[in-house]
Amino acid sequence: MRTSNQNDSDPDQDVVFEVRDLEVTFGTNRGESRVVRNVDFDIYRNETLGMVGESGSGKSMTSSALMNAVVSPGETSGEVTYYPPDGGEPISVLDLDEEELRKFRWGEVAMVFQGAMSSFNPVKKVRGHFRETLEDHNRDVEAGLERAHQILGDLYLDPDRVLDSYPYELSGGMKQRALVALALILEPEVLVMDEPTAALDLLMQRSIVSLLKELKEEYDLTIIFITHDLPLLTKLADRLVVMYAFDIVEIGSTEEILYDAAHPYTRSLLNATPDLNAPIEEMQSISGAKPDPVTNIPGCSYRPRCPMADESCAEAEPPMADRGSGHRTACFYHDDVADEIPIPAMEAAEEGGESE
C-alpha cells in the first residue's frame, strides 16, 4: 500500500531527518500497545515543524524516537535517519550503540519538554548543568560557558544571576528559558520542543515563542514544536503534522492545513479550536472517544468518529494521498472533505478579508 516512491523525499528540500515505518510498542497486560504506527515523514533543515493532535496520539513518542529515547520498556523499530549538515555520513539513529547515542543526544538533537519546571537537578546550580553537559560531550568548558552567557543574554536573562542560582531560586519562565539555553549549549542542529509552554501563562508563552523565532535565525535551528495549541503553532510553524491514533493523518504547509485541510479530523480539530473572535456556538467538539492503543481498528482509524465514513473506510487503510506541494493526507475522500465539513470560522475570516 505504501510504495517507496510515494514516500521519497522531496528532492528540492534539504532533509535533516527521514523517518520511515516508525513503530513504538509497549507490552502491557492487555496485549501489545502500539503507540506509534507506521509513521513516515521528513523534517527539512531549518524549518519549524509543528506537530498537533490530541493527548496520547503519539506526538511525544514520535519525537522521542528521533533521539531513540522512548522510555523503557518501549520498543522502537523502523528507520530514523539523521543527515548531518555539510553532507556528512547519514546516521541511522536506531542502530547507534550506547556511547554513540549518548554523544548524538544533545549534540545533534536537543529536547526541551513539558517538565521544564523539574528538568533541573534540584541540588545542582544552573552553572553545574551547563558545565557537566560540556564536560560529558568533551567540549571546551570555558568557551562553552561563555556561549552560555551569550545565549542566556539573548533570552533576556541575567547570565550571572541565573548561572549562580539553584533551580528552585528561579521562576517558571526563567527556568524554561534557562532550559532552552541549556538545549542550545552544544549547538545542536535540531531542537525538539515538546509542549514547552504548557505550564506557563499566556504572556510567557507568547514571549517564548517570539524568542524561538529569533533563536532559530541566530543559531540555524530546525525546530520541532509539539503542542495542543493550534493557534500558537499557526504563528510559528512552517509546516504542520497532524497526528491521530498513533499515525500521521495529514501533513503540509501551515497555510495548506489551515485553509485547505483535507482530512475530516483536521477540519474537526480546527472547528474545535477556541477562538475569541468566533461565537461560541461555532465551536464544535469532536464526538466519540479517542482510540485505545491496544485495539487495532481495521481500515481507517478515524472511521468510528468520522461523519463521512462508509464501508470502504472499514475495508482498507487509506493511503497518504498527495494533494500537491507536499500536502498529503490519509483519507479516501480528501477531495470532498471541504464540502462535507465546513469550517465556519475560516469562512468568516475569508469573508472578512485580512482583518483579524
Binding site: M67, K103, F120, N121
Partner: protein
Amino acid sequence: MTPKYLLKRLGQAILTFLVTMTVSFLLYQAMPGGPTEAMRSVILSQSGGSVDIDRLNRMIQLYTNVNPDQPMHVQYFNYASDVILRQDLGTSFFKNEKVTTLIMQRIPWSMFISVYALALGYSLSIFLGVMTAYREKSRFDSTVSSLIIGLNSIPYYIVGVVLIYFLAIQNNYFPTGGRIGSGIAAGYNPEFMLSLVKHAALPAISMGALATSGALAMRGNAIRVLGEDYIRVAQLRGLRETRIATQYLGHNSILPMYTQFMIGIAGVFSSAVIVEEVFAYPGMGLLMFEAVKTQDYPLLMGTLIVFTAISLTAIFIADLTYTLIDPRISVGEE
C-alpha cells in the same frame, strides 16, 4: 545559617544532654542497691565491718562524686558540676581508676569498629538501594530485598554469633575475639594493621548488618527519583551514566535519609554494648557491660553520659550540615 539558629540548636542539644543526665542520675539513685548502697556494702565487706561511718562516707564521695549524707538535690548539683565543669565522671569502684581515663582508653577502639561498621553498612545500603531501584522487579531486586529484610529481622548479635561460628571457629579466617593478635608490636607496620583489621572485621560486619536497614528506604527513594523529569532530561542530555547514577540519582535519594543516617550513628554505638561482649572486643561497649555486671555505678553513669554526648553531637552535626547536601534547606530562616 544564622548565629541565632546555631545557638538555638546548641541550646537544644545541651538541654537534651542535661535532661538525660538528670534522669539517669535519679534512676540510679532510686534503684534499690543504688550506687552509694552498693559502694557501702563493697567497702564494708572488704574491711570486715571495722570502718567508721565518716570515713566510709568520704570514700564514697571520692569514688562516686556523691556524698550520701547530703540531700538529693545537693548530691545532684555536686555530681552535675563535676561532670560539666571538671569533666570528672568519678572513679570506678572496681577498677580503681578515673572513669574518664577508662573511657578515653576505650573510645578509640569503639570508634574504630563503629566507623568501620557505619562505612560498611551505609555504603552497602546506598549501593544496594540504588542497584535494586535500577533493576526494580528483577530477580536481582527480589533476591537482595529479601536478603536485607531477612538480615534486618535477625538481631545483630545473632548475626555476630553466627559469624563467629562459621568464620572464626569452623574456618579460621578471623579471630574469635580481642582487638589485636598477641605478640604484635603496635606501630605502622603491615602486620599490625592487618591484625587490627582482622580483629575488627567481624564485630564491624555484625554492627554493619544493623546499618543496612537503610537499603530498603534507599531503594524506595531511588525508585521515586528515577521517575523524576530531571533524570530523563539528564539521559537526553547525553550525560555519562556514572554521573547520572551518583550526582543525580544517588545524591537526590540520600537527601531524605541523611538525618536518619546521622541518628543511626547512635544506634550503632549502642549496639556496641552487645557486639563487643559477643566478640570480647574491649571497647566502650564492653566497658559498660562489665560495669553493669559488677554494679560499677560511676562507670555505668559515665559511659551512658558519653554515649549520650556522642549521639547528640552526631545529630547536631547532621542538622548543621544538611544545608550542604540540600541547598533548598535554608537553615535558620523563618
